[in-house]
Symmetry: C2
Subunit: 152 residues, 2 copies
């Protein structure tokens, strides 16, 4: 087998994967420079990460060339992005946290939550939406509750 499928990605490598995934989604191509900027790291750090991702069979990449994800890489990245979205959604839609902070918090926490927690969280977000449809407005009620609490 060419690429050893070591599924255990470090938080750092997950970040690189997600960055490539997102950049490719908007501009078809992920350039090393943009990855570096997005993650606020120096260029050599990106090169190093790309070499590891290639070795793991997650990224198609050759020196001085474009970067794309393999099927496995895309699958892994999609899962990470999904976690990110669910978390961010919970933070903004349920807890009412500002988008900027929610974005940053989701980015940090997304690496630590396993499938079970994520699945529950997703279910909870749906549930809250449903309650809202049925006229209960959970998020709104919490918002008021929290505001009242703060002024006590």
């Amino acid at each position: 087998m060419a690429g050893a499928k070591d599924n255990n990605l470090s938080a750092s490598l997950e970040d690189y994967l997600e960055a490539i995934y997102n950049l490719a989604a908007e501009s078809k191509v992920a350039r090393s420079k943009d990855i570096a900027k997005l993650l606020s790291v120096a260029k050599p750090s990106v090169t190093g990460a790309l070499q590891i991702l290639r070795k793991k069979g997650l990224a198609n990449y050759e020196a001085y060339g474009f970067v794309t994800l393999t099927g496995a890489g895309r699958a892994a990245a999609a899962e990470i992005a999904r976690k990110h979205e669910i978390l961010k959604s919970f933070l903004t839609d349920v807890l009412g946290i500002e988008p900027g902070l929610a974005q940053r918090a989701a980015c940090k926490a997304e690496h630590t939550l396993g499938p079970k927690v994520i699945s529950r969280l997703l279910g909870f977000i749906e549930f809250v939406g449903n309650e809202n449809d049925s006229g209960y407005d959970l998020a709104g009620k919490f918002k008021k509750y929290y505001a009242r609490k703060r002024t006590r």
Copy 2:
């Protein structure tokens, strides 16, 4: 100043601090061996961490002696433990996740969540409890919703 108060604790050092805090809470004394066991690390790793915590002014510690926390150390540890409790509480009481998994997930995620998110989460747990008192039983409703969803 003797101990440089570098507030930026790594996740790893936070783990050591929390371990000492919890061990001291139950047996008055935190022994190096128990810290190692609790965190699943080798003994020299504990020694190294203790030296750093001492240098940071968070732990009172001398070679071959007992380990206690300084005032600053206790304050920092309490804050970490508080995050842990809030997170675990949310996972078990609101999302209905089993205590064991919730414990482990909280342990990982507690290092990534800032004060704002924690504060909101705490507020939300209180809110859910309140709703429960007023006969709404949010957690119970979600539990049913989630069970139904899974069988669809």
